[in-house]
């Protein structure tokens, strides 16, 4: 119990139902390759892992620091393209993966610092607008510079040999499975890392800034520094999520990494799941990715309309989302 407490950074689910749901996600994803065989369900499971990280890192900004960034997909895309470009240009080796992840992370953090210093000094509404502008410029740039990024079509490349479907070290084990468990393990570690950050003294300062930036400043915390740091951490986590996606899907394109639709998805995940809880966005990510892959046929084209309505209702009536509802019982 004590170990569990320290793994979860003393931030327990605090609700029986929430615990059950989280356990179901944790175990379900762990056994997904065996419980739900098939290429599609494995793909869905991997996407869920990636989006859990992406949504949880966005929650660090939206839920804990109280700032809205529309550039989260940009950092996601930087991570994905970092790995994709390195694997395309330098060949399918682990060194190129490391170079790709490293340069993607570095670029994401530098950009996050720049945007933060430019816009977080003033008001958070500036940040929202500037991130939107920068992110869309970046998306257009990525589709224009087709020599490097492959343009609208994106990049298709070979993964290191260990991760290829054709790699079969023994019966029943394939490169795909190894790849999946890398994605799963890294995602889990990143989510636990984020949980650690929001429950640290640093996280408390972020929440103080969210509640009352003026008072936080008066107590002696430089809000600009803390907000910029938070946006750097979130950007780094998003870039890592992007790198995971690139390592999984062996392709990167503007549609799958940079588009505004993905930004909308992340917003929906975080708000519907529950802002400021880390667990909420994880649940939101599971719900949304499952719905996208299996319910879309059922609900037809209008499902995004209903999700949009649900989103608005959530902001008004259940600002703490699914997790807030579960915890209230």
């Amino acid at each position: 119990m004590k170990i569990l407490r320290s793994i979860l950074s003393d931030d327990l689910p605090r609700s029986r139902w929430l615990t059950l749901v989280l356990l179901a996600i944790l175990i379900g994803l762990a056994v997904a390759p065996f419980a739900f065989p098939g290429a599609k369900s494995l793909n869905v499971a991997a996407r869920i892992c990636v989006f859990i990280v992406l949504a949880a890192s966005f929650d660090l900004l939206l839920g804990y620091t109280g700032i809205v960034s529309f550039a989260h997909t940009m950092f996601f895309g930087i991570g994905a393209y970092g790995v994709a470009i390195a694997l395309t240009k330098l060949g399918a080796s682990w060194t190129s993966v490391a170079i790709g992840v490293g340069s993607g992370l570095a670029l994401a953090i530098v950009l996050a610092v720049l945007i933060g210093l430019f816009s977080l000094r003033l008001r958070t509404i500036f940040f929202a607008m500037i991130t939107l502008a920068v992110a869309s410029a970046f998306a257009i740039l990525a589709s224009q510079l087709s020599d490097i990024t492959g343009g609208e079509d994106g990049l298709n490349y070979r993964l290191p040999e260990l991760l290829r479907p054709s790699f079969r070290p023994w019966e029943g084990m394939t490169g795909r499975l190894i790849d999946y468990y890398i994605v799963y393990g890294v995602s889990l570690a990143l989510v636990l890392g984020l949980l650690r950050i929001v429950n640290s003294p640093f996280g408390s300062v972020l929440m103080a800034i969210r509640e009352n930036p003026f008072r936080a400043e008066a107590i002696g915390y430089r809000t600009v520094v803390y907000r910029t740091l938070a946006s750097c951490i979130a950007a780094a986590a998003a870039a890592l999520a992007g790198a995971l996606l690139a390592l999984w899907s062996a392709q990167a394109s503007p549609d799958t990494t940079l588009s505004f639709d993905i930004m909308v998805d992340i917003l929906l995940m975080v708000v519907i799941g529950g802002m400021g809880t880390i667990y909420g966005p994880a649940i939101g990510a599971v719900v949304l990715v499952l719905a996208q892959n299996y319910l879309q046929a059922l609900l037809g084209d209008r499902w995004l309309l209903w999700l949009g309505v649900a989103f608005i209702l959530c902001v008004y009536f259940f600002p703490t989302g699914i997790v807030g509802r579960l915890r209230r019982r």
Partner: protein
Amino acid sequence: MKRDYLPLLLIPALAAAAFPLVGSWSSWVTLSVAGLAMGLMIFIMASGLTLTFGLMDVLNFGHGAFIAIGAFVAASVMLALGTWMGADSLWLNLAAIGLAILAAMAVSGGLGLAFERVIVRPVYGQHLKQILVTTGGLIVAEQLLKLIWAPDQITLTRPAALRGAILLGDVAIEKYRLLAMAVGLVVFAALTLTLARTRIGLLIRAGVENGEMVESLGYRIRRLFVGVFVVGSALAGLGGAMWGLYQETITAAIGAQVIVLVFIVIIIGGLGSVGGCFVGAILVGLTANYIGFLAPKVALGSNILLMALILLWRPQGLYPVAKR
């Protein structure tokens, strides 16, 4: 109050700086006119947004939806009036466009009223929720657009009288750009005159300075705000209609494309300032056209750079609104 003309000087400075780079006189004039026309269209769309922000501290991320709706309504009306549009008379063409624009403004203004009541009103004073809820409104509105007008794009052709260019010596100026400039200047003049010379304008300016004071003097600033919101939405519809006719193809993503430029403009101008919005819009339009000519691949990036440079010079934008 001392007038601050420095930002205004940026416009000729930018145009002059671009001249040696562009090289030829005729393409420089063509580009400048194109930039002014584009800037004025963006100004039409951005003015409403910056006013609502100045007056009530509400930033509507769903503003792009009104732009898109304006474009779609105008396109539908123009398609329905196909015979007028195809006619050989300039006046019939202009009448069709005028009707289309009126319809666009009416529909987006009406939607603005509903949007204010349902979406914005419950979240006054809460920025985070405003951003979230208006983004939600944008998602819903965009889906509704796709539902009504089907997901594919509408292609519009401009009427014969507004196609092609006027030749002045060796300088070619597209006719439609002149119309866009005229409409933009009329909107700017009407807005400035209303703000500077009428009672309503006085109240709006007072409201921007200090809303509580205006309220305590017995004016219902809420009602004023609803009015400004509706006018702002209608202007977005007007701008969307003009933009759609300029691009000649209309997709559901039109709002999302333009809103980025609109945001850059109101950040450059200073949130809440109409004059700043005007200067910012022209700067953005000119930059987009010059850079689009010199290095097409980085056109939108150049606007971000412009924004960054201006924020380095004046962190609150060109004409910061005093209290914020």
